[in-house]
């Protein structure tokens, strides 16, 4: 088990090496980044084979960090964090593969990319709230530079908006944590100590603190109406960064909600549960409807991300073990599927056609030009709709069943969201890759200026793209066919005393 902390250190070292390697040549930096990301992923998988599921966090490292404040450098793991660690390894490896075409300042790109990944590993391993926060910030800062420097559409706006939302969210989190810490006797920042400290606050105090921490994290998880940074940020980001952004960074927010906010105060959670659930449900339906209307393919996927993250938040809000285990599964599933969708649209399609407008794409009939990309998008699309056999199905099903036992009305409205998701995904597949159908299809395809014979020549799909895409497809299929692989880790973790205080309904 003691392999896991090395995921942080190795990735940090990889970042420095990539920076140095970039001075030599772009290829060196790429290979260093790939070896780091893949090596770290294999490391998490190795650790996972030795993992013994159980309730509570299993300590890996625990030394004093700021003794005067009771802050500890405490790394620990349980089934929930292990799931997300494996996801991080997978998403970062795929992200490097899909960033293979970054030619400008390659060293700096991968240095920032790996720094972000190291921060994410750190967050998932932290068992001390202040340490958690520090890693959280390390993950946030590089995002800004990745988008501002290597992004596309409206990158400065998207990057700054994302940075300001992230920092506003994390400022709320920090304020809440410090409040609990300072008013609860200033003993320390471990999750248990914070829960004890929060219990000493008055009920209104607990409610305010919980709101600060929960909604601070929820900003990064894309909870409606705090989600508006997500579509613009995703669209502006370079492909590898938007894969990380959708794949793991949004999970940081959801993980923070689950790990830090929920156990903080059962009293305050009871107060906020219904509003949070309705916000999540609204987000699912609203973002789905927006995705149905969007003309820019990347915006469609950006909003679909918000919609799917709504399921995660709904699962957390339902607060019974089944819904929460589904939420964690959905975090994994969405990380993989959204990564694949962004990879296809950003790297395979946009870098070749230089357009993401559905109106332009429908005339190109991409299924004839880039069949591999089309196949991947269709697979990712149906996985995202929740077709059985892919990871989205067990995840959303578990969430909906869990939510139904908590409040049938939430589940009912969220089910409408599933239908909308099917609609916008099919629309994106149809318009983006197959062109328009119907009786007038013959005339529509041979529209003015675009003859069937003069289709633009698109460069073939390269091996890193194929490798990355197959990795992600493999992961979603494996988890879709055998979700118990992950649920066997997740469910025991939900039996920890801290979470049991919030979750009702016993074992799943």
């Amino acid at each position: 088990m003691n392999l896991l902390p090395w995921s942080i250190y190795l990735t940090m070292a990889g970042a420095l090496l990539a920076l140095a390697g970039g001075r030599r040549s772009a290829g060196t930096a790429r290979w260093i980044a790939l070896l780091t990301a893949a090596g770290t992923w294999i490391l998490t998988l190795l650790a996972a084979t030795r993992f013994v599921p159980g309730p509570g966090l299993q300590t890996l490292v625990d030394v004093p960090w700021i003794p005067a404040m009771g802050v500890r450098y405490h790394l620990a793991v349980d089934g929930i964090s292990l799931t997300l660690l494996v996801l991080t390894g997978l998403a970062s490896t795929a992200g490097v593969l899909f960033s293979w075409n970054i030619e400008e300042r390659t060293g700096e790109f991968f240095a920032l990319f790996l720094t972000l990944v190291a921060g994410v590993y750190g967050v998932f391993l932290s068992a001390d709230a202040l340490l958690f926060f520090v890693f959280y910030e390390i993950a946030i800062v590089p995002k800004y530079f990745l988008i501002a420097a290597w992004g596309s559409t409206n990158r400065e706006y998207g990057a700054m908006k994302l940075a300001l939302y992230s920092f506003a969210g994390s400022a709320m989190v920090l304020a809440g944590l410090l409040w609990v810490y300072a008013c609860g006797g200033a003993h320390g920042f471990s999750f248990g100590q914070l829960t004890h400290a929060a219990a000493t606050l008055s009920r209104p105090g607990q409610i305010v603190v919980f709101a600060l921490v929960f909604f601070g994290f929820a900003t990064l998880a894309g909870l409606f109406p705090l989600h508006t940074w997500a579509p613009t940020g995703h669209v502006a980001a370079p492909t590898g960064a938007s894969m990380l952004l959708a794949g793991v960074v949004m999970k940081l927010g959801a993980y923070g909600c689950l790990r830090v906010a929920l156990p903080l105060s059962p009293v305050a959670f009871a107060y906020w549960q219904t509003p949070i659930a309705w916000l999540a449900v609204t987000g699912i339906v609203y973002a789905g409807l927006v995705a149905l209307m969007e003309q820019d393919l990347k915006f469609v996927i950006g909003y679909s991300s918000v919609s799917h993250m709504g399921f995660v938040m709904l699962g957390l809000a339902a607060a019974n073990p089944r819904a929460v285990s589904g939420a964690v599964l959905q975090m994994f599933s969405h990380g993989v599927i959204a990564g694949l969708l962004f990879a296809v649209v950003g790297r395979m399609v946009y870098d070749r056609t230089h357009t993401r407008q559905l109106g332009d794409l429908r005339r190109m009939k991409l299924y004839r030009l880039v069949p591999f990309a089309t196949t991947m998008f269709v697979i990712a699309g149906v996985a995202s709709m929740g077709l059985p056999g892919f990871s989205g199905f067990p995840a959303e099903l578990t969430i909906l069943i869990g939510t139904w036992t908590a409040a049938p009305l939430w589940a009912a409205v969220a089910t409408v969201g599933v239908l909308i998701a099917a609609a916008f995904t099919l629309r994106a597949i149809q318009l983006g890759f197959f062109g328009s159908t119907g009786p007038s299809s013959a005339s529509a395809t041979d529209g003015p200026g675009l003859h069937a014979g003069s289709a633009p020549h698109l460069s073939p799909i390269t091996w890193p793209e194929k490798a990355g895409a197959l990795l992600l497809v493999g992961a979603t299929v494996v988890v879709g066919l055998k979700p118990d692989l992950l649920l066997d880790w997740i469910n025991p973790a939900l039996q920890s005393p801290l979470l049991q205080a919030v979750l009702k309904g016993g074992a799943p």
């Binding site: 005067a68 202040l130 520090v134 530079f145 420097a149 920092f167 506003a168 400022a171 304020a175 300072a182």
Partner: protein, 507 residues
Amino acid sequence: MPIQLLQQAAAANEWLAITPELMLALLALLLLVLELVLPRQLHTLIPATAIVAQIVIALGLAFNFDSAFTGPGTAFNGLLRLTADGQFLRLFFLVCSIFVCLLGTVCLAKQRMPRVEFYHLVLIITAAMMLLAQSNHFVLFFVALETVTVGFYILVSYFRESPLSLEAGLKYLVMGALSSSILLFGIVLLYGAAGNQALPGGSPNSMNFDQLRIFLTDNPGNFLASAGIVLVLAGVAFKIGAVPFQIWIPDVYQGAPTPVTAFLAVASKAAGFAVLLILTQRVFAPYQGLVIPVLSVMAAATILFGNLAALTQHNVKRLIGLSGVSHAGYLMIGVIAAYHEPHAIGAIWFYLSAYLLASFAVFGVMAHVAGPNDADQELDHYADLARDQPFLAAVLAIGLGSLAGIPPLAGFMGKLLIFVSAFKAGLYPLLAVAIAGVVISIYYYFGWIKAAFFPAWRPTDAGLPQAAVPARTPVNLGVRIALTVLAVTSVLLGFYQGAFGQWILTR
């Protein structure tokens, strides 16, 4: 002071108490002598002498940190009070002075100016600040403060061929004189009120802080004393640049030579806070009911004004000046929190240390990016700095990140300690303002880092000629070492505070 008292002081070895200050003053004189004596080609040795000698003094002070005083004793008949905080501040000002001299070597090389007087004045000001931080009597307080201010009048307008430097000097003179007179008027009112022996606690020696405190304790709500306190606080607020006394900051910071701007931004601000802490926590403590609301309103306004005004700046000297205003606001929250939470004072020292490291890192980069026209330092001049001089760009990123409070840099720890103290003191509205301010500040700090790391994005073909970017100065070895130390310490102090952190939190 009559001659017998001086003899007494000598007999009791009291002069030992101000050894570092005396050594600095002697060093300042020595520099002038060296200029006369040394042949012209050896004049480059003078700044080196100043820097090395100061490092020696700083080391001596650090090794004698505890032995130079025994408990909170006073010297010179109550003029000076020797405290651990005072020792810390002496070291702080010495370190500032070393870096200012180092930056001076970089900036003065680009100007046709007499050199030695610059270092002379920096040393004198540093000695005066060290006395100021230990003063226990309004006479010493005012004399030391005026020495600092008068020295700065000259330093601010040191580039006398630059109209902006002269303008800045004039503005600083006018505003400084105004603030000094307000301060003096406040002192006079306090002296007059506390000198009235018909009132309980009245004393003929009412300029002494201890006597004054006794008087204030015995006379709560004395109108004359209240007016005096408000005026004294206003005078100090000028020095730290707190709203509404911040108006001089942008122009003076822009016009002053970059090392002087750094000196003003770090040392002068720290001196202001040292004085503010002595006054509010010790002397005016009985008048908390008056002081806390005044400081709270000023702190909130300072944070908001500093951050909002900095958003639109393109000149980096004005930007860092206004961002410094907001830092003064965060520190004022610490001062207010110190009434309820003694750890807050340690938090202020930590914050100031982190601010010193980060600011000098940034100013060090500014000194190299600036051309011969020192007042003209635009954000656009930083375009592509990362490609030309990656070392400077890295130092800049760490410095600005620390100023912005990005974990795990030292600046984050500083803010964390201040905020924890403020939470313990229950200052929720002020904290909300401060946290909003921190988020706003991300915009301009990141904008600056972005400017340094990426090419300028403004359209070059819009018919407007691209502004010429001044040539960047290469970094010499000494400055490279210093900047590396600043950047590395900024990172390390965030991760690990060690003995320093222990001292800060348990002092």
